[in-house]
C-alpha cells in the first residue's frame, strides 16, 4: 500500500485539493451546489439499473395508479408502471439530450462562426441566414422538424441542435471580430501565419471560455426543450421513459394523480437549476467583467 506512509506522515494536515475545494465553496457556494446536484443526477442516470429499479416499461394493470410512499415509492401510473423506475431512467434521456445538444451545437456553431468571422464575403451571407433562423422561435422550429420525422432520440437532438446553432454562431463571430483587431493576431498575420493556422492557434483558444459558459446554458435550455417536445407529443418516443413523457401521459390525470407530474417535474427543474447555477459560476470565474453585471 503505497499511499499509507504519506497518510501516516501527515495525519492532521489537510490535502491541498480539499483546501481548494473549500475555497471554491466559500466563493461560489451556489455553483458548487449546482455541480454536486448535477453529479448526483449523472450518478443516478448511470447507476439506474442498480438503484432498486424494475423494468420501467413493465405494465401491471392490476396495480395501476397506486399512490406514492406506499408499496411503490413514487406510486404507479395508469398502466401500473413503477414511476420511481421511470423517473430514474428518465434522467438518462434529459442528460443525454442536454449534453449531446450542447456539444453538437457548440462545435457546429464554432466552425461556422470561425469561418464567417474571418472571411468577409461569407460573413454577410451567413449572418443573413442566421438572422432569419433566429427569428424562428426554437420550440416551434423543433416541433416543425419533429412533425416530419420518426420520433427518435437522435431526431430530438438534431431538431434542438439546429435551433441552438445560430446563437452560438453569433457569439463566436462577435468574439472573432474583436479578437481579429487584437495586436497578437495582427502580429501573427504580419509574420506570415496562414489564416487557418491563425484561427487554430490564436483565435480558437480564446473562444473556449465563453463557449464553455454558453454551452452550459444551451445544455439547460435543451433539457427544457426536450421536455416540452415530449410533453406536447413531438419528442422522445413513448417507449423510452423520459421526464417529459411521464408528464405528457399524466396530462389528463393530473387532478387525481398529481404525483405523476410532481416527481418528474421536480427532478427536471432541479437538474436544470443545477446546470444554470453551474453556468453562472463558470461565467463568474471565467469572465470577471460580466460577473459584476449579471
Amino acid at each position: 500500500m503505497p499511499a499509507a506512509p504519506a497518510a501516516a506522515a501527515a495525519p492532521r494536515s489537510v490535502s491541498p485539493t480539499w483546501l481548494r475545494f473549500k475555497d471554491a465553496l466559500r466563493r461560489h457556494p451556489t455553483a458548487i451546489a449546482g455541480a454536486v446536484v448535477l453529479l448526483a443526477m449523472i450518478a443516478l442516470a448511470v447507476a439506474a439499473p442498480w438503484l432498486g429499479t424494475v423494468d420501467p416499461q413493465a405494465v401491471s394493470p392490476v396495480k395501476r395508479l397506486k399512490p406514492p410512499f406506499g408499496e411503490y415509492w413514487f406510486g404507479t401510473d395508469m398502466l401500473g408502471r413503477d414511476v420511481y423506475s421511470r423517473v430514474v431512467y428518465g434522467a438518462r434521456v434529459s442528460l443525454t439530450v442536454g449534453l449531446a445538444v450542447a456539444l453538437a451545437s457548440t462545435l457546429a456553431g464554432l466552425a461556422i462562426g470561425l469561418v464567417t468571422g474571418f472571411i468577409r464575403w461569407a460573413d454577410a451571407l451567413v449572418m443573413r441566414v442566421m438572422d432569419g433562423l433566429m427569428s424562428i422561435p426554437p420550440v416551434l422550429l423543433a416541433i416543425a422538424l419533429m412533425a416530419l420525422t420518426k420520433a427518435s432520440l437522435e431526431n430530438v437532438v438534431f431538431a434542438i441542435t439546429l435551433s441552438e446553432i445560430p446563437r452560438v454562431v453569433r457569439l463566436v463571430r462577435s468574439l472573432v471580430l474583436s479578437l481579429r483587431e487584437q495586436p497578437f493576431v495582427e502580429a501573427a498575420m504580419a509574420a506570415g501565419t496562414s489564416i487557418a493556422r491563425t484561427l487554430v492557434r490564436h483565435i480558437l483558444p480564446n473562444t473556449v471560455a465563453p463557449l464553455l459558459v454558453q454551452g452550459t446554458y444551451i445544455c439547460a435550455s435543451a433539457m427544457i426543450t426536450e421536455s416540452i417536445l415530449s410533453f406536447l407529443g413531438a419528442g422522445t418516443p413513448p417507449n423510452i421513459p423520459s421526464w417529459g413523457n411521464i408528464m405528457a401521459e399524466a396530462r389528463s390525470l393530473f387532478q387525481i394523480a398529481a404525483y405523476l407530474i410532481l416527481f418528474p417535474g421536480v427532478c427536471l427543474s432541479l437538474t436544470v437549476l443545477a446546470v444554470n447555477l453551474l453556468g453562472d459560476g463558470l461565467r463568474d470565474a471565467l469572465d470577471p467583467r460580466l460577473a459584476r453585471r449579471m
Partner: protein, 313 residues
C-alpha cells in the same frame, strides 16, 4: 426618420425571406421520408403518394417553392391535411385567445419585472437583490408546464380561487375573461419576468455608476426621482431590446400554456396538428409566429428614437 423607417422595413424582407425558405425547406432537411411519416404506420403506397402530391414533394424543389411563395403572397397558407380546411381560416378562428393571453402576459410581466429589476439594482447586495436574483435563476429552471400544473394545484384545485382550465371570450364579460387568463399568464410570464428583471438590474447597475447619477443625488433629488427619472430612462434601450428578443420565449411558451390550460388558441391548434401530423398547419403557425417576432423587433428598433433622443437616423 422616414428614410430610416423605409430602410428598416426593407431590411426585414431578406430576413423573412430566409425564414420562409427555411420553413419551406424543413420538408427536405428532415431525416427520412416526410410523406411516409405524415401518412402514418398503416398507410398504403397510394396514401403516401397522395400526401407526397399534396405536399408538392413530387415536383422540383424550386418550382414548388415559387408556387408556395406566390400563394403565400396572396394570403394562402395552404390546406390542412386532416380537415381539408384552409389553414388561414383555422388560424383566424383561433387567434383571439392567443392574442389575449400573449398581450395580457406581456403587460403584466413588464409591469412587474422592470420595477423588480430597478429595486434589485438600487439595493444591490441586499436581501431584496438576492431574492430577485434567486427568483430569476429559478424562473429560468422550472419549465412552463411544471409551473402551470403547480399553480393549478394550488390556486384552482386546492384553494378554488380560480378556474382550473378553459377560456371565455371577452364578449362573455370582462371578469370571466380575466379570471381564466390569470393563471395562464402567471405560468407563461414567469420565465419572461426572470429575463427582464435580470437585464434591468444589470443595465441599471451600469447606469447607476455614472457621474450624472452622483450629480443628481448630490443636488438632493429624491431616490425615486433619480432611479426612475434619470437612471431608468438611460437604461431603457437595452431593456426594450431584451423585451423584444424575449418575445420568442412567450411564443414558445404559449403553445405549452394553451395545452395545459385547454385554451382553444393557435398553440392548441399546433399541438392537435402534431398529433395528427397535419404539417401544413405547423408550417403556417411557425411562419406566422416568426413573422410576429420579426415585426415586434422592428418596432423595438424604431422605438429607440423615442427612448433615446441621441439616437437619430
Amino acid at each position: 426618420m422616414f428614410a430610416y423607417l423605409l430602410k428598416r422595413l426593407l431590411a426585414t424582407i431578406p430576413v423573412m425571406g430566409v425564414v420562409a425558405l427555411f420553413v419551406f425547406s424543413l420538408l427536405y432537411i428532415a431525416p427520412g421520408d416526410p410523406a411516409a411519416v405524415i401518412a402514418g404506420d398503416i398507410a398504403t403506397e397510394e396514401d403516401i403518394a397522395r400526401i407526397r402530391a399534396k405536399l408538392g414533394l413530387d415536383q422540383p424543389y424550386l418550382v414548388r417553392f415559387g408556387g408556395w411563395l406566390w400563394a403565400l403572397a396572396h394570403g394562402d397558407l395552404g390546406v390542412s391535411i386532416f380537415t381539408n380546411l384552409p389553414v388561414a381560416q383555422l388560424i383566424a378562428q383561433r387567434i383571439e385567445p392567443t392574442l389575449a393571453l400573449t398581450l395580457c402576459t406581456l403587460l403584466v410581466t413588464v409591469a412587474v419585472a422592470v420595477p423588480l429589476g430597478v429595486l434589485a439594482a438600487a439595493r444591490a447586495g441586499s436581501w431584496i437583490d438576492r431574492c430577485v436574483m434567486g427568483f430569476a435563476v429559478l424562473g429560468f429552471s422550472v419549465p412552463v408546464f411544471v409551473l402551470a400544473y403547480l399553480l393549478i394545484m394550488l390556486f384552482a384545485s386546492h384553494l378554488g380561487w380560480l378556474p382550473v382550465q378553459g377560456y371565455r371570450s371577452i364578449a362573455e364579460g370582462f371578469w370571466p375573461w380575466l379570471q381564466h387568463l390569470i393563471l395562464p399568464s402567471i405560468a407563461l410570464g414567469t420565465v419572461y419576468v426572470a429575463l427582464i428583471a435580470r437585464i434591468t438590474r444589470a443595465t441599471m447597475l451600469d447606469v447607476l455608476a455614472q457621474d450624472y447619477i452622483r450629480t443628481a443625488q448630490a443636488k438632493g433629488l429624491a431616490t425615486d426621482e433619480v432611479l426612475y427619472g434619470h437612471a431608468l430612462k438611460n437604461a431603457a434601450v437595452p431593456i426594450v431590446t431584451v423585451i423584444g428578443i424575449g418575445i420568442a420565449l412567450l411564443i414558445s411558451g404559449v403553445v405549452v400554456t394553451e395545452t395545459v390550460f385547454a385554451i382553444p388558441g393557435i398553440g392548441r391548434l399546433t399541438v392537435d396538428a402534431i398529433l395528427r401530423r397535419d404539417y401544413p398547419i405547423i408550417q403556417a403557425v411557425t411562419l406566422l409566429f416568426s413573422g410576429a417576432y420579426v415585426l415586434v423587433n422592428l418596432a423595438v428598433d424604431l422605438s429607440y428614437t423615442l427612448l433615446d433622443p441621441r439616437i437619430r437616423y
